[in-house]
């Protein structure tokens, strides 16, 4: 990740939970979408099990639970284009860029604290 990238914004939402197992991911994405709709500049960081939110091929749950993959499609519509991920987490699951629904920038160790410092508000989910 180039050190010239601008890591600043109004809100950083950190997504640490996998889809389907809990509502954390959906509730975090909802907060991001609402902030964007309110005109804030929003960044997303997919960290830990949260990187699985980006995995291709997600479907509905057995009771018809929607999951969050369809919500990801809405990010661009809301002008949320600063997407970051923890490359170690991705590797932990044996996933590569080609397995992802959306491109997200891999953050190196030095950039993560800068990303957090650069946003006025940081919410973790």
């Amino acid at each position: 990740m180039s050190s010239t990238v601008n890591f600043s914004g109004d809100l950083l939402v950190i997504l640490r939970h996998a889809p389907h197992g809990s509502s954390w991911l959906r509730e975090g994405l909802d907060a991001a979408l609402v902030a964007a709709a309110f005109g804030q500049s929003v960044s997303l960081l997919f960290q830990s099990d949260g990187v699985l939110a980006l995995a291709k091929g997600q479907g509905v749950g057995p009771l018809g639970q929607k999951g969050t993959a369809t919500t990801l499609d809405m990010l661009a519509m809301y002008d949320i284009e600063s997407l970051y991920l923890d490359p170690e987490a991705l590797e932990r699951f044996g996933l590569g860029e080609q397995d992802l629904l959306l491109p997200a920038a891999a953050l190196d160790a030095a950039s993560l604290p800068r990303l957090i410092a650069g946003h006025r508000l940081v919410l973790t989910f």
């Binding site: 197992g21 809990s22 509502s23 057995p62 009771l63 639970q65 929607k66």
Partner: protein, 130 residues
């Protein structure tokens, strides 16, 4: 076989309720009897009668009721866990001087002793936790 389920996760917040309902459907389809679902810890929130989930999501409260209606499964809620979480049936509401109630049949507030009895009466007790 006779089964019992113990559900400890709040609806929607964790997958526990979804998993339990799914497992319940599969076991009755295979001819087993699901005697009772016991709700404990945050699982008691499954009994909240006013749930109004979005129409494109599973309606867990209604799904529990269907389980009761179609298969006679008892829906028992730990009363101690329920009271502090604002889940009161009419009787408890009156006893605590509250107007209105949040739990109604087929959900029943019962003591933990019912869980212990359930463990004795069924062949398998399977827990779904958050």
């Amino acid at each position: 076989m006779r089964y019992g389920l113990l559900v400890k996760g709040a609806p929607y917040s964790s997958q526990a309720s979804h998993s339990a309902l799914r497992f319940a459907a599969a076991l009755v389809a295979r001819g087993h009897r699901l005697k009772c679902v016991f709700f404990y810890h945050d699982g008691v929130y499954n009994a909240a009668r006013l749930a109004a989930p979005p129409q494109d999501e599973p309606h867990l409260y209604d799904a529990w009721r269907s389980l009761h209606d179609e298969h006679g499964t008892q829906l028992q809620v730990c009363i101690a866990a329920a009271l502090r979480r604002a889940l009161l049936d009419s009787r408890e509401a009156e006893r605590h001087g509250k107007s209105g109630h949040s739990v109604e049949p087929p959900f029943e507030l019962t003591g933990l002793g019912q869980l212990i009895d359930l463990g004795r009466e069924v062949d398998r007790l399977v827990t779904f936790a958050p």
